[in-house]
Amino acid sequence: MFGGWASSLAAVAWVASAPPVLDLPPGALVPAAASVPVQASPRGLSFEVPGFAAVVLPFRGVHRAELELEVEGAVVVSWGPETSRGSKPWRHRRLETGAARLELRPMQFATWTPWARPVLRFEGTGRVLLGRARIALVPEDPAEARALHDAEVFLAPETVDHATINVLVPPLWSVNRNVFLQEILGAVFLAVALAALLLLRRRTGRWRPGTSVAIAAAAAVALQGAHLAVRMVPALHVTPDPDPEERIAKGYPFMAELGELARLGRATIGAGETVGALARQGDWFSGQTLCFNLAPRRCVVISPGRAVHRGISGVGEASLDELDVIVAHDADSPLPRGFVRAAAVSPRSFIARRAR
């Protein structure tokens, strides 16, 4: 066990101190694959994000990558090793027009393998320029690489998204040996309880099991709390913002345009108007969340092909004829006849009104 501790601590120190190994000037980082056409220029590689774009970096065994980006529009970029699709933690960041520096740590994924290349997945609408890149590779020694992988997973920040409410990412002490933090802390608890029992006996001449168990429990809970703090603090939004509209606009960092679209709707749709929310088929979240943020306006989630559409959780209904406004977010079905775009966050996130 203590060998594991030592190697993990060594890996943590390595993580903190290891300098980037490869420094690639703009344009030198040629993707191994991309889902959209990529154009090279002296400033770097640029590509359009027409709703979705994926770029595979050309390196295997990446420990850490720092990328300089310039973005026009609003996109959410998520990243991970090729093996990470659909698995937690979901690493993502919302980027708006301007320069940004992105730090990728593919080893924070339990599914990481030395052969998996990092993938960037962009959602939203805009243009991205990929500039300078710095790439640190994993150690060549497999044992050292495994220890580093264990440390990266152990200290990875929690992912906050719409499913976090159900389950937090399990804290793994060693992803490669499948040892949970709780097992280690259980052992710590027993060891501290025993040590406290013997020490207190020696100091006071009495057996004090209650005090010993309490000391051990406090130690175990404190260690677990410290780990929780390390994981949660980066994931929490702790900058106060007095304006509720701003909080709604910025409050969906895992979706590129949803918050801004909700703000636009709240600003432009009248209290007495009837709204239809139109989203991509299978996207259960956007339509309901738009209706929620537009409440108390009458709102239904549009189900293409149906005559009558229903509100949140099936409460309330309206036909297309009754709608005054449609709020569309990344919809894959056409705008119903008779509606024209009136205001937009982007080409795929907009508000349409009945044509006069």
């Binding site: 913002d241 409050g251 959780s313």
Partner: protein, 471 residues
């Protein structure tokens, strides 16, 4: 600002209820927290009954009247001299600061920092937690609109009266919706709960117990996250935890007023989520059983507690029957009965054996419950006789019943949601929070007893401290 005004009205109403019921503790932090809890419960109950039993729409004037009723009743009864001021409990001198400082300064710092992070994140984040079926913060919107088609009434049954009507108070007072009020209510519940834990410990001369309990509940990781959301699982857990806290207090003081508070908080828990309809009565049943078992020791319930409890239960049942029909008045009971009768079965892919394994993972390894389910059995093993004493035993029975309910639900009733980990972890909150309160009390009591035993010979038979040592 309007939220703050609404909150003050709720606290005043709840505070008046405390006086009417003779349950005030005469400790500002405790009475403030209890005022918020009982006022929330009163608003939920009164709005449910007035809307669905009496047919009075929920709006600004009715909400003001409902909140004013306890205050007016208190003022009238007091003016007529019919309200006896409750005798203060015989208790040791209140003590604010826990000792030793080297231990409790970091504990208090953790509690304050965690609560601060929850407040900031919770107040900053719009609702983005959804399970695809319902938006949890939606029923207050229905209360605000006062539109109750059958689908909306079904949602009310799922969410419960307190989560439906309390967040809507500010909206009906102001005439407009600020979505964040739903977040604020959960955060206010957390602040009240922490104030109750710490304040009650300080009031009874043992601030260590209170800080230990606050530390314990804020060390349950999923609870910490839930308090930043608009889900109500953490809220139900806090009401259940507060009820168990007073059950423990009743074990310590033997004063019927503590049992009365445990019952009152269990009644409020019954108004949070459909699960509350089973959780609240379960804890209340243990309180009643304890009072009956200990009646010869002078630990009876306050006069009128039983009729009041029965009246609340009947009113809730009648109001829900009026809203939903008798058949659906307690939907969870119908679900359990249907499963027991074989009327329906869980998804074919989900077996109870697999669910049992997944339940174990949730308890011990997933990290959602922290170290609680490791420490609880170990602590019980280390001091089994004390765990079943009159002081701690009844509260342990309540926690065990809650655990068995969640286990039955997770393994037998809905194994599919245990296998995919969608509901099991948040269902466990209603066990984890009362269990954390119990464990903190139990562990600190063990330390205090051993220190007291050491101090007793030194004091050469001097007056021992009934409530633990001062230092």
């Amino acid at each position: 600002m309007i939220f703050l005004l609404g909150a003050i009205a709720i606290v005043l109403s709840g505070r008046a209820l405390l006086e009417l019921l003779g349950l005030a503790r005469r400790a500002p932090a405790v009475d403030l927290a209890l005022g918020w809890f009982l006022g929330s419960g009163w608003l939920g109950l009164a709005a449910l009954v007035s809307r669905f039993l009496l047919g009075v729409p929920f709006g600004r004037a009715p909400a003001i009247v409902l909140l004013a009723v306890p205050v007016a009743a208190w003022a009238v009864l007091r003016g007529l001299g019919l309200l006896r001021r409750a005798e203060p409990l015989p208790a040791p001198r209140p003590r604010l600061l826990p000792r030793p400082a080297w231990l409790f300064v970091p504990v208090a710092a953790w509690v304050v920092a965690t609560a601060g992070a929850i407040l900031l994140h919770g107040a900053s984040t719009p609702t983005h937690t959804d399970d695809g079926v319902r938006v949890r913060a939606f029923t207050p919107m229905l209360a605000f609109e006062d539109a109750w088609p059958p689908e909306a009434r079904r949602l009310l049954a799922i969410a419960g009266a307190v989560p439906t009507f309390v967040p809507a108070l500010g909206w009906v007072l102001a005439g407009e919706v600020n979505h964040f009020h739903v977040n604020y209510v959960v955060l206010a519940d957390l602040l009240a709960f922490l104030a109750l834990l710490v304040g009650l410990g300080s009031r009874s001369g043992s601030p260590e117990r209170g800080w230990a309990a606050a530390f314990a509940v804020l060390s349950v990781p999923l609870f910490v996250y839930h308090c930043t959301s608009t889900y109500q699982d953490a809220v139900l857990a806090m009401f259940a935890g507060a009820s168990v806290l007073f059950l423990l207090e009743h074990g310590r003081t033997g004063d019927g007023r503590d049992a009365g508070l445990a019952l009152a908080l269990a009644a409020v828990a019954a108004l949070v989520k459909q699960e509350g309809e089973i959780v609240g009565p379960s804890v209340a049943a243990v309180v009643l059983l304890r009072a009956w078992a200990r009646r010869r020791h002078g630990e009876a319930l306050p006069r009128g507690a039983l009729p009041a409890l029965a009246a609340v239960a009947l009113l809730v049942l009648a109001a829900k029957a009026a809203a939903l029909g008798w058949r659906d008045a307690v939907p969870l009971l119908g679900t359990v009965a249907g499963r027991a009768a074989g009327a329906w079965a869980p998804a074919a892919a989900a077996s109870s054996a697999e669910a049992l394994q997944a339940f174990g993972v949730s308890l011990f390894f997933s990290g959602n419950t922290g170290m609680l389910y490791w420490l609880l059995p170990a602590s019980l093993l280390a001091a089994a006789p004390r765990a079943v004493s009159a002081r701690h035993g009844w509260a342990l029975v309540a926690v065990t019943i809650l655990f068995l309910q969640v286990a039955a639900s997770s393994i037998w009733l809905f194994p599919q949601y245990t296998l995919d980990q969608t509901t099991v972890n948040r269902a466990l909150l209603v066990v984890s929070i009362p269990a954390s309160v119990w464990l903190a009390d139990f562990l600190w009591e063990g330390v205090a007893a051993e220190r007291g035993a050491r101090a007793a010979p030194a004091a050469a038979g001097g007056a021992g401290e009934a409530h633990g040592p001062a230092g």
